[in-house]
Amino acid sequence: MDIPLPADAPGHSHHESRYNVYVQIAMVLAIITGMEILLIFLPFATWLVVGSLVALSAVKFLFVIFFFMHLRWDKVICTAIFFIGLVLGGGTLWALVRLFSAAASVPLSSSP
């Protein structure tokens, strides 16, 4: 059992507990993961399944960075710094996949 420090003691902080918020978000993340796994076995149109998977992953991603990583409560400069790297990395990924999806990019030695 932890013994609460008096408010004026060194090492005491005035942070309010976010225990319930974190537990609720973890439950949401677990449910979304279950939905993702279920989705790949459902006979829906490919575009719908792919779109849903990407959207659900994005929701999980945003939940983790804004709540578990505290961006929601932190100063906006932290969000800005992280999103610079995220946009550059994500943009590179998107650009490369688009570039190599083009018909002219198909290598002669690839599978039919």
Binding site: D2, L39, F61, F82, S105, S111
Partner: protein, 288 residues
Amino acid sequence: MNLAATIDHPAAPSTATGIPNKKILFWAFLASDCMFFGTLISTHLVYRLHPPPGNPVPTQVFNIELTSFSTFILLMSSLMMALAVNAIQRGQVRTMRSSILVTIAFGLIFLGCQVFEFNDFVFEKHVTITNSIFGSTFFTLTGTHGTHVAVGVFWLTLMYIRSFKPVDATGGAWVGRAVVHLLLFALTVVLGMYSAIAFAHAALAHGVNATMLAAFANSHGVAVAGTFLAAAGLRWLGMAHGAVDFDARNADDVESMGLYWHFVDIVWIVIFTAVYLLEYVIPAGQVR
């Protein structure tokens, strides 16, 4: 933004941004790691668009049940890490230690699943890092992520041990105790993971029955006993030994570690969807 809920850093010296420099440094590092993983994921996906002949079919080598389980475990480890940060921000050292220990355990389970998966790929499915493009990009990407998890587990372990530093610590005695603590931790982890993976292989090969358990005890009993002995030593070292030099003023250190751990989790969220799940929806080479 709700200003009333904005994070304050009472222990940090004032900076131009109002945020501890350590934390800014960490966000910058994570931003650079986004670009690093962006290139690794891009490389894997680009080669999946046009797989060369002879590549294995991923859905025939993946074990989606195992990967789903390890994904769930990593998500729960993120929850425990968030609870550890929440605890130390309120000065609750013992709660923080318990949360860190569970986070370490979940991280090790994730790594154990990855070792099991890699072993299955190489020895059962004959997919190695050199015999196909798929193997090269897959092992490089997931192996790099696994290395990040391993570094995170090591960092968590160091922070856990650091939280026992006595207020009146003298150099030699405290360092000696910390080194013994670390060695005992390493022994528990190595023996524990060896035993767990050996048990999983034996259970899969022969099923769980009295004969299998007897054979396992005969061949791996020493490792299992060593795990329990080392864990008992850890328990003894973890018992209260007076006031410690670790409280809410160390919250920024724990939070930085937490940021790293959550980052490892969000990278896996992307890998799980892009590398594993999409293979079941869009077979390789059919993206246009």
